[in-house]
């Protein structure tokens, strides 16, 4: 067994309590430890990605219990890719939080951050559906802490909403698992897939209920219509670096749908059939529309970005909903892209808003380095909207190319293309209000009596800009190296649809290895 598979879970799990208990009064030490941990996890993730490149589905049996009985972690190309994505994003966000001093605005930022990474990596690696629930809870409870980091009236209220939504979701998750266990008697995803193939007809209704409940839970995480209400409020009120990290949280829901609904509730299962696709597709289309309209109608910069993230989730899920290898390849490419595009937007917005009095989209006196921030925002907005030089264009092109089924093509093409256009208009309006019109306003602004302390007008140092630039550079690299990346993703999506390979790796080798 390759013990490195569990390292992305173990390492942050060890670092987090250490930071919380030993380094709680020493911010410098906590920062150094947290950064070192993030670098180490990124290195491990690169190693795991290389290891998964062989195409072999590697399985880690916790406690060496055989597969259907013990918990397994499974490393294939998809989970390796997701762990790599998480670790790179976490490193970028962590550097931003440290350099801009966000981590000092409340307590236990670094401990919560490590727990967050632990939960996300665990959710990507696990091969057991109850364990998936547990890792969901780990990442959620850490995200509750991060969401309200720094406090403030609106942030706390938005935090309450976020927690209530997710607690209700967790309850549904447990109901789904109960139904699933009652009808199949297993919680291992591979074993589940095997047993669902020959489920007796009288249990088929229960299995359908479980599949739909799980879909609701994952769609809640992925912020899909009609469960998208929490996302704009949460992302717009969370601290900007946390919102940037949350860019991966919605992808956990997308990943779970790809994994569970392809492997266990695939179209070839008689009990469920094309149930997932039937419901996912219209939901995704409506999500695109809501996201685009939200971008157009948002009054503040952070809600604008949050709605653009919502629209990108809709685009992603449209591709996921067709459950074919080609569309999954496109979905994975767009998933990587939209994670970094969303993160880049939030990081740039944070740089700008810490120097601006207000996030409302109205012309205010130009900040220092107006041109630089305008350039960064422009690049990130191009990425998110899907304009040519950056990877969003290729991602949307791949998605459109994969969705050629006559039944879905008009809806998908129409929604994605019109949504992109509206998003571009929304971003252009925001950019011209924030940056362009601001230049025509005289610099010495009369300071209102109720505006609190003057915000810092310090120019951003190179270190502060570096994380946002890195996220943008990743988008550019995704575009430049689209060939190798999509080659890897093609193999990854083929591996996802090689259900027998996965089931055989998890269950088959177990019986051989055991004495």
């Amino acid at each position: 067994m390759n013990h490195w598979i569990i390292a992305p879970v173990i390492l942050p799990a060890l670092l987090a309590p250490l930071i919380a208990f030993v380094m709680r009064h020493d911010l410098t030490l906590a920062r150094a430890t947290s950064l070192a941990g993030a670098v180490a996890i990124a290195a491990i993730a690169v190693g795991l990605t290389l290891a998964s490149g062989s195409g072999e589905t590697q399985v880690y049996y916790l406690g060496n219990w055989p597969a259907p009985f013990g918990i397994v972690l499974v490393l294939d190309r998809l989970s390796a890719l997701m762990v790599l994505l998480t670790s790179v994003l976490a490193l970028i966000v962590l550097v931003h939080a440290v350099v801009t001093g966000w981590d000092a605005r409340g307590r236990h930022f670094h401990a919560l951050f490590q727990f967050q990474i632990m939960g996300i990596c665990g959710a990507f690696l696990t091969g057991d559906i109850f364990n998936l629930f547990v890792f969901f809870e780990v990442l959620l409870i850490a995200s509750y802490g991060l969401m309200i980091h720094g406090g403030g009236r609106e942030r706390m209220q938005a935090g309450v909403q976020y927690i209530v939504m997710n607690l209700a979701g967790s309850t549904l998750f447990l109901f789904a698992l109960g139904v699933l266990y009652a009808s199949t008697g297993t919680l291992n995803i591979a074993d589940l897939a095997l047993r669902l193939r020959e489920i007796p007809i009288e249990d088929a209704a229960l299995v359908r209920v479980a599949a739909m409940l799980l879909m609701i839970v994952f769609a809640l995480k992925a912020a899909l219509f009609p469960l998208q209400f929490w996302l704009p409020g949460t992302y717009a009120n969370a601290p900007a670096p946390v919102a940037a990290l949350f860019a991966i949280m919605t992808k956990v829901g997308a990943y779970a749908i790809i994994r569970v609904h392809t492997l266990a509730f695939g179209p070839d299962i008689g009990a469920t059939g094309p149930l997932a696709a039937t419901w996912l597709f219209p939901g995704a289309i409506v999500t695109i529309v809501i996201g685009a309209l939200g971008v157009l109608g948002a009054r503040g910069l952070l809600p604008l970005i949050a709605f653009s993230v919502l629209g990108s989730m809709g685009t992603l899920m449209v591709a996921v909903a067709s459950f074919t290898p080609e569309a999954t390849l496109a979905a994975l490419y767009y998933l990587v892209h939209s994670t970094f595009a969303g993160a880049a937007l939030f990081l740039v917005a944070d740089l700008l808003l810490s120097r601006r009095k207000d996030q409302t989209l109205i012309p205010l006196p130009a900040t220092v380095q107006n041109g630089l921030f305008a350039g960064l925002f422009f690049a990130a907005a191009i990425g998110m909207a899907g304009m040519p030089p950056l990877s969003g264009f290729l991602g949307k092109l791949l998605i459109l190319d994969a969705l050629r089924d006559p039944g879905q093509m008009p809806w998908a093409w129409g929604a994605v293309l019109a949504g992109s256009l509206v998003t571009i208009v929304g971003f252009a309006r925001a950019g011209s209000q924030l940056f362009w019109k601001s230049t025509s306003i005289p610099a010495p602004a009369p300071k209102g009596p109720d505006h609190g302390p003057v915000t810092s007008v310090r120019a951003a140092s190179a270190m502060e800009i570096a994380p946002a630039l890195t996220a943008l550079a990743v988008l550019a690299a995704l575009s430049v190296f689209a060939g190798p990346v999509s080659a890897y993703l093609t193999q990854a999506s083929d591996q996802i649809f090689d259900r027998d390979g996965y089931i055989g790796a998890v269950l088959g080798t177990a019986t051989e290895d055991q004495p």
Partner: protein, 120 residues
């Protein structure tokens, strides 16, 4: 036995759903607690209801036994939902102290009235 378990799950769920649709945090928290009780009983029943049967022990040999896995799942679920409820209570309390209201929805009207207000 079945009717008792089934109706208690149903009543708890119905009460929980009703309460989480309230507009104040306290009923919502109570509703989530009721829902988590409901799901705990539900999970317990997912291993089939068996009364008077022994646990898994070697000396009972071939005899039927109660499924131990749902009990482990329920234990995990109880711990998690208890912890989550505690977090929610504290955050709701924090939100109440910050804003002076225990409404669950964020009143957007104030923001619209004074768009200059800083969100940070």
């Amino acid at each position: 036995m079945e009717i008792v378990v089934a109706s208690s799950v149903a009543v708890l769920t119905a009460g929980g759903v009703y309460l989480i649709l309230r507009l104040r945090t306290f009923p919502v928290i109570l509703g989530l607690a009721l829902l988590s009780y409901a799901v705990n009983i539900f999970l317990f029943a997912s291993g089939r209801l068996a009364t008077g049967l022994p646990p898994v022990l070697l000396k009972y040999g071939e005899a039927t036994y109660t499924d131990p896995l749902p009990q482990a799942l329920v234990l995990t679920a109880i711990v998690i939902s208890f912890g989550m409820t505690a977090v929610l209570v504290i955050v709701a309390l924090g939100a109440f102290l910050e804003s002076g209201t225990d409404r669950i929805d964020i009143a957007p009207r104030e923001d619209d009235a004074e768009p200059q207000e800083s969100h940070r």
